[in-house]
Symmetry: C2
Subunit: 289 residues, 2 copies
C-alpha cells in the first residue's frame, strides 16, 4: 500500500521531503531552498497529528506566494481547535475532515482558492464540476457545516478550557512519573494534544494496561493502527526507536472533564510503575544510575 | 470532463463499446465476439437508468467465466427493485448506490468476489485494506445496511405494487395521449421506470409544465442534468434526436400512491395537448396525416 507521495514518485513526480526540528516543525527557509523551477506544490500540515505542534504556515505561505508555487495544508488536526484564516496563511488549498470537529465520520472538505487549477482524477458524472463524481453525501455535508459553525462559536472558550486541562495533565504526569519527558513542547501547539515518553515502557503494553483501566490513548496515529514500526513522527524529531516506542499520545476534547484528568493522573503513574517493575532492563538502568 | 471509459482510453486502454437493441439490451454473443486475449474486464449495467430494461447478465456472466475475464455490473438502478444474486449472475464486481434504495445520499458499496485482484488508485491511510483511504462514512454505512435489509424484506411486495401502478400509468397515458409511444417495453424491466415519447413535444418544456403542476419527471439521467444533448440512451436504441428530445422518464417508488397515478393521468395529457397546440410543426403534421 502506497501513500500519496509514494504514489506520485512512482508516477515519476519528484518529491522532496523536508526534515523537521525536534518539535516536528519545518523550517521555512528549508522550504525556500528546496523550491526548483519545476516545483508545482508545497504541502505542509497545519498541526502535527501526534504532537499537536503548529507549523509556521504564514511564513511558508509568503514564500509560496513569492515563488508562485501552489500551497496546500492539511488542517485536519487544527480545524475546530485553532483559528483558520486561508488568507493569513496564504494557502491555495486546505483540507479538513469532519470527524475531527464533531461532524459525522466520512465527510471532509477541500478549500480551493478561486483560480487554482486542478486536474480531474476521478471520472464519472458531472457532480462537483466533474472533480468528484457521485451523488453528494448530503447528511454529511449538512453535519459538517453545522459542526464547523458550532466549533467556530465555541473555539476560544473550548481552546482555553481544554489547554488548561491538558497543561494540568502534563504537569501532573511529569511530576508523578520519574523519567517522563514531553515531546514537541517548545512550539505553539493545538490545545488538545500531549505526547509523553515514559522511558523503559513498551508503549503498546501501556496502551493496553490503560485501556483495561478505562483510559483510551494511543502510541501513534489511528491511520497506522496495527503498524509495528515506531511512530515516524517521533523518529523524525530525533527520538531513538526505543524512546519512540515508549511514547504515548493523550488527546483531550470538548467532552473531557476535570474528573477525566484526575482519573488519568491516578491510573497512568500506577500503570507505568507496574510495567517498569516487569522490565529487568529498566530496573537495571535505574539501579546503575 | 471525462467519464471513466474516456479516461481509460486517454490512458491508452482499449475500450470496446457494444451496441444495444431497441430495448437498450446488449447481445451476449456480441460480448463474446468482442473479447480479445488481452481483455481484462467486461462491464454491463444491470438495469438501464432511463428505460429500466434489464440486461441478460446471467448469459454474459457465463461467457465471462468461460473466457476468464472479470465481470462487473452497475446495479445502482436495480438494487432494491430486483433480486440480486452475485452467484447466479456470475459477477466478480457489483456496485450499488445508497440513495437509490432509500439509504442516505453519498454512500455506496462495491461487492468484490473473493480472489478478485484490484489495484489501488487512491492513496493515503490503511483504511479498507488501503483501497479507499479515509475515515469511513459510518452513519452512511449503517444506513445503507439497514436500507438494504428493509428493501430485501419488502422487495416482492413493493415490486408487485409498484409495477401494477406503473402499468396503469403507461396504459392510461397511451390511451389518453395520441402519438405517444413506450420505449424499451419488450424486455424485462425494473418495476419503477417508464419512458414515453410524446411526438411533437419538446421534453424539457413538458418537464417544466408538469413541474409547475406539481409532477416531477425528467428527460434523462440526473447525472447529466443541464446537458443539451438528447439522451444518449434513447439515441442508442434508435430514436432520432427529435424523438429522444420528446421523451420523458417517469419514476415510481415506495411512496407512490394510486392517487399520484390518477393525478399524473390527469395532468400529463392536458400538458401535452397544450404544448402541441403551441407547436405549428406538430399541428401541420397532424393535419397532413
Amino acid at each position: 500500500m502506497l501513500n500519496a507521495c509514494q504514489a506520485l514518485e512512482k508516477q515519476g513526480v519528484a518529491v522532496t521531503f523536508l526534515p523537521v526540528d525536534r518539535n516536528g516543525r519545518v523550517n521555512p527557509e528549508a522550504v525556500r531552498r528546496s523550491i526548483r523551477p519545476e516545483t508545482v506544490l508545497i504541502t505542509v500540515m497545519h498541526a502535527n497529528n501526534e504532537l499537536g505542534t503548529v507549523q509556521p504556515l504564514e511564513e511558508i505561505g509568503r514564500i509560496a506566494k513569492e515563488t508562485d508555487v501552489y500551497f496546500h495544508t492539511d488542517a485536519v488536526q487544527s480545524a475546530g481547535k485553532l483559528p483558520i484564516n486561508v488568507n493569513a496563511m496564504q494557502v491555495d488549498l486546505l483540507s479538513i475532515s469532519g470527524h475531527k470537529l464533531y461532524a459525522p465520520q466520512g465527510i471532509g472538505a477541500l478549500y480551493v482558492r478561486s483560480g487554482t487549477r486542478l486536474r480531474q482524477f476521478l471520472y464519472g458524472g458531472h457532480h462537483q464540476r466533474g472533480f468528484r463524481p457521485g451523488t453528494e453525501n448530503v447528511p454529511g455535508i449538512v453535519g459538517l457545516g453545522k459542526a464547523a459553525d458550532l466549533a467556530r462559536r465555541s473555539l476560544e472558550k473550548d481552546a482555553r478550557r481544554i489547554s488548561d486541562l491538558r497543561d494540568d495533565l502534563e504537569r501532573g504526569l511529569l511530576a508523578r512519573v520519574p523519567d517522563a519527558r514531553l515531546n514537541g513542547s517548545d512550539a505553539p501547539r493545538t490545545p488538545n494534544t500531549t505526547n509523553i515518553t515514559f522511558a523503559g515502557v513498551e508503549g503498546e503494553a501501556l496502551v493496553i494496561a490503560l485501556d483495561l483501566r478505562g483510559l483510551a490513548c494511543s502510541t501513534g496515529a489511528a491511520c497506522s493502527s496495527g503498524a509495528v514500526e515506531p511512530s515516524h513522527v517521533l523518529t523524525a524529531i530525533g527520538l531513538p526507536p526505543e524512546e519512540a516506542r515508549a511514547s504515548l499520545r493523550f488527546s483531550l476534547g470538548r467532552h473531557t472533564t476535570r474528573a477525566d484528568i484526575d482519573f488519568a493522573l491516578d491510573v497512568v503513574p500506577a500503570a507505568v510503575a507496574q510495567l517498569r517493575e516487569l522490565s529487568p532492563a529498566y530496573r537495571k538502568a535505574v539501579e546503575a544510575s
